[in-house]
Amino acid sequence: MTGITEPSEFSNGPVPSDRLPDYRRVGLNPVARPFYAYSLAVTGAFWLIVLVAVAWMPRLPFIPFDPAPWSVFAMSGATIWFCVVAWIDARRRGWVVREHDLIYRYGVIWQKTVIVPFARIQHVETASGPIERLFGLLRVKCYTAGGMMADLSVEGLDVRSARRVRQYLLEQIREEADETDRSERESAENGQPVENDKPLDHESD
């Protein structure tokens, strides 16, 4: 179900698995340093608000709610826990642009690695909230077919690399599209492993 190629030129032998480029062998770029602070600030602020709400609730005259004294301690513990997790998450987060795809890794307890081939990206955009802008951060969002679930948002890039990544992705998408047209016409050769082991150089700021 992939394209139409002349039968004589088309070969489809199995590719040995050791010749396949392995996504695990690529080193990832860490996210921008300001993301650590941003992540900590957002998580901390959220849980602090909850903590303050729990602590202040009994003093409000119109709410007959009296939480047990230990709940404030529990909330403080939770705040610290989530801040620590956010910090570790920020340190572990990583991304890399290979020749044919984009890899993004995140998560502390559930560690996730997402890989999106350029050929499957339909649309790229950058976005940032007010707090992210304060820290000079930008998100790159990649949209693929297959509904909302299949969209990837790469967080934690500084403005410069985010713009560069978006630009690069857009160029790749265009090139892939051109190549598709050409290969459809000329029925390009298929079956050679793609060079996909070399990560793209990334200037760390």
């Binding site: 179900m1 394209g3 996730k112 690695t113 890989i115 081939p117 297959g146 509904g147």
Partner: protein, 510 residues
Amino acid sequence: MVSLWKTTSLWIMNPTDAHQWQQLAPLALVFLVIDGLQKFIRENLFWFLGAGAGFAFLDWLGPRELLLALAAILLSFLAWAIIFHRRFRFRLEEDAIRVRRGLFQKRELKVRFARVQNIQLGRPFYFRPFGLVRFSLETPGASEKEVELPGIPAELAEIMRDRVTGWQGGEPEEDQSNEETVGSHGIELYRAGTGRLFLHGLSSNQIWVLAGLVGWAIGNFYDHLESYFREVAIMQWLSEFGGPAWMVISAMIMTGLIILMLLSGVFSIVRFHDFRMFDRGDRLVGIGGLLDQREQTVKRDKVTGLTLQQSALGRLLGCWYLIVRQTQSGDQELSDSQTRFLVPGLRRDDHRLTAQITSEWVRPASLNPISLHFRRIFWLRWLVFFVLVLVALAILLGREHWSLQMTAAGLGLWMIGIQLRWRHWGWQADGDRIWVRQGFLGQQLDVFDLALVQQVRVTRSPYQRRHDLANLQLMLPQGAVTIPFVPMDDAAELANRALYAAETAVTHRV
């Protein structure tokens, strides 16, 4: 430019007219009104019947006012349909179809043939004597049917269908020559007999939807029903049979269920009557239906995968069904089953269809199981959870309380459920395509080309990291497919293979 159609010229069609702006046939009004009313009722039924408020309102209103209100609703729909009909125009172009419509806001829509993945021709019974059909097109990613032309002459619809499916970005294909030898629709791949369709209805999950609706309706009308029952003295009649009350009640529930199942079987016959599937070179055609015969045409190169499915009851009855998968927007699967290309009533040996639909996709003899750790960790976790609940219940309610036994029984069922879940998961990579099975009481078998993978996600929990396992999720145009608890090396190899296939594929976009 606008060619005004007179009623008399309805079924005399000159193909060259297709390139001019066309109107719908006047009879389309019937469809528009019926369709509009159906939607209106479906959307407002819950509001109307909710908590019996609508019923009380009806009692208060009185029959004459009710009739007036109904007439007003009907008239307003008719008025809407007439205006819609008057404003509606469509035109066939070189490589696209153009539609102009809109009640207050004019909208013009152009759909390129190359984008179309699914064409439906509907023949409702009231259109048939006039040679009219309902024509609709679907493109990938659209949440509803992109173009719907209710009430156009059958000849025109067939010309449009052939133009749309034949369009490959170059010359429209001429495959009329071999058509005569293989019949007007192509080579027949499959035909579902009435018996098979009935079985499909029995086993389809539709009966639970029906049961839910009936239960909900009974709940709402309970007061009315109760007084009715008292009138006919049903309880006395039932008690004459003797036997304990629970027996009578369960017998009634069973009877109700059997009636529902029979109904569901009959619905299935009406919906799919004389279902046939044809191979027509670059496209697949499915035809079936009694009151509204539907002909669905799918371009082969727009097929993104196949799903073989069997419900729990279908397992007992040996009844499968096949879904020809295409690019979908995420929420469509839940809401609209109308546009799905579904092949009902398959036997086990009809699975050869998968190989006929696509190039030699033969169901593998065996599948790789997922890791035993799946069962172990979920058994352990839920065991701990249930034991904690049991201890808490024993402390709070005493050791003799009935809820303890219930919880213990629940634990047993839960463990069996996990075992079933684990046993059903399986996968097998066969070159550049992969088969994935999952299920609980029923089962589902997905097959797709790795090259169509849109995104690969590898997720690992701490437990999985300890045991060198991973969950692999492959995002496809038709939705996500997950294989949990796969050995890490297998997951990585599958991921690498999928990426390689996607990145070297000749065509890229769906």
